[in-house]
């Protein structure tokens, strides 16, 4: 355990991971409950186009990715209104545009494949000090603002129309929220990779929905599951030299399966108890 902390790149990876482990489920729970689960995939592909453009032009890639995904997020919000009855179409359009641009840019410069591999699948050895600074500053800002807007985001996720009628500034909060999604994806890319960012937003939430007895609990459990997955995933990937993104996501899937199994076993025991109690009452 201590050996891990001797390396400064591991210290950075763990710190960045811990922030991302809060960010992803915090945003993810609202995404899942609003049935926008695919938005993460869509924006991460646009972010990949931003990374490719950054490497090609020599501008800080994470910055370019952040700009590209925020613009794409705003486009999704606009398209969501144009295709009101097919809100998921907006997500699909932006996904196509993102991957199209990314592939073209990648084919234009064939030399940066190694770097790109890290962005695609996540790499703990490549979290640079400036990446950590960006992740910490923007990450803490997002965590703070979501905590402050928690009630409003909850109401909009539960019933957007009623929230608007109750006088909540739904439109502004929606725009703010979608920008926050874009930023979260960009920040998480270094650790979990473009292809798996969305999983870290969705899987811990899916796990917590199995056992949550309230919205607060759903939030708390998804934070715990995500942190567990990120920290143990980073440690495992360090010792076995695996891609961190894949390892983290596999750990979170493992937690999901464990929770599902645990829930089934508990329900089975309860059902048996009820049957035997019923038998007892019947025989009396």
């Amino acid at each position: 355990m201590l050996e891990i902390l001797q390396y400064s790149f591991m210290q950075r990876a763990l710190l960045a991971g811990m922030i991302i482990g809060i960010l992803c489920p915090l945003i993810g729970i609202f995404i899942v409950l609003r049935r926008m689960s695919l938005i993460g995939d869509s924006l991460s592909h646009v972010a990949l186009a931003g990374i490719a453009a950054g490497i090609l032009t020599g501008i800080y890639p994470l910055g370019m990715a952040l700009g590209a995904s925020v613009l794409a997020a705003l486009a999704i919000e606009k398209l969501r209104k144009t295709y009101e009855q097919y809100a998921e179409l907006a997500i699909a359009i932006i996904l196509s545009a993102g991957i199209g641009i990314a592939v073209v840019l990648i084919s234009m410069a064939r030399s940066f494949n190694v770097d790109l591999f890290g962005y695609l699948f996540g790499s703990i050895t490549t979290v640079l000090p400036e990446d950590l600074r960006l992740i910490a500053a923007l990450g803490l800002f997002i965590i703070g603002s979501v905590a402050l807007l928690y009630k409003e985001l909850f109401y909009i996720a539960f019933d957007e129309e009623a929230a608007a009628l109750a006088g909540i500034p739904v439109q502004w909060i929606n725009i703010f929220f979608i920008i926050v999604i874009a930023a979260t994806i960009t920040l998480s890319m270094r650790i979990v990779g473009v292809l798996l960012v969305s999983s870290l937003m969705v899987v811990p939430v899916a796990t917590s929905l199995q056992i949550a007895g309230s919205f607060k609990q759903a939030m708390l459990f998804s934070l715990i599951f995500a942190e567990l997955a990120v920290i143990s995933g980073i440690i495992i990937s360090f010792y076995f030299e695996l891609a961190s993104g894949g390892t983290i996501v596999l750990v979170s899937i493992f937690i999901l399966i464990a929770v599902l199994l645990g829930k089934n076993i508990r329900q089975g025991i309860q059902a048996k108890k009820t049957v035997s109690e019923n038998k007892k009452t019947a025989s009396l």
């Binding site: 009630k151 409003e152 539960f158 009628l165 929905l209 309230s214 919205f215 609990q217």
Partner: protein, 251 residues
């Protein structure tokens, strides 16, 4: 009596097809108004116009004696939508969390919910008889119970008028009876004005004090439901083949 909602020559259509033509309607303080009409007679559209979810293409709407676009005090107007349409039943929220949501605009952005507001939640849950369900998940309740929670959600911001859109669709008969009793209590004891849209003309006319009939893009109001020329109205709005059958059971 104060006019709470006033519609003057309001017209509205979807994609050029007029569904409402020059509608005039006055809703007074303390009213218990039922809006009835066949499916597709734009009853829900009329409610959405009052709530500013849709805007009239012609005519004007006044709320509490103010032009609708100037009106800010939306807490005064409660809305209970059709249960099935706007609610995800697997949402992990407790009854307390759902009811509390309508307090958010009162509490204000960036502030947590204090004890004063928590007490208010249980006060209104008591009014609808659901105070022991505060910690239960909304998705685990029956349709009738969920609808009571949604009434509590509107009550928590102390509205003066509540608009309900087909509130009893998908709810069993016994719960419907309890639900109408609750509405009567809100209207008679708490003085809340109630406007209810329904396609069930038989039930609604027994409960409300005033009926508005919709159909063929128009609306006709009757000041007391006892003297509605039912068969005449039905033929006018529902077509020739419709007659109202009233029968009573002797228990």
């Amino acid at each position: 009596m104060e006019k709470i909602i006033q519609l003057r020559d309001v017209s509205f259509g979807y994609d050029g097809n007029r569904v409402l033509e020059k509608i005039n309607l006055d809703i007074f303080e303390g009213d218990y108004l039922g809006i009835v009409g066949p499916n597709g007679s734009a009853k829900s559209t009329l409610l959405k116009l009052m709530l500013n979810i849709l805007s009239p293409q012609e005519g004007s709407i006044r709320l509490f004696d103010q032009e609708q676009h100037r009106f800010k005090d939306w807490g005064k107007i409660g809305y209970v939508p059709q249960k099935a349409t706007s609610f995800n039943s697997s949402f992990p929220a407790t009854v307390e969390e759902v009811v509390g949501a309508n307090l958010y605009p009162l509490i204000g952005l960036f502030k947590p919910m204090g004890k004063k507001y928590r007490d208010k939640i249980y006060e209104v849950l008591q009014v609808v008889g659901m105070e022991s369900y505060g910690k239960r998940l909304i998705g685990n309740l029956s349709g009738g119970q969920q609808q009571k929670v949604f009434i509590a959600r509107t009550l928590v911001s102390s509205p003066q008028v509540i608009l309900l859109d087909e509130p009893t669709v998908g709810i069993d008969l016994k719960s419907q009876g309890e639900f109408y009793q609750l509405l009567e209590k809100l209207n008679k004891e708490m003085g809340i004005t109630i406007v209810m849209v329904s396609h069930d003309i038989g039930v609604i006319t027994e409960k409300v004090s005033r009926v508005a009939c919709m159909g063929d893009k128009r609306l006709v109001t009757h000041h007391s439901c006892c003297n509605i020329p039912f068969n005449e109205v039905l033929t006018q709005f529902y077509g020739d083949k419709m007659k109202l059958m009233v029968h009573k059971h002797n228990h």
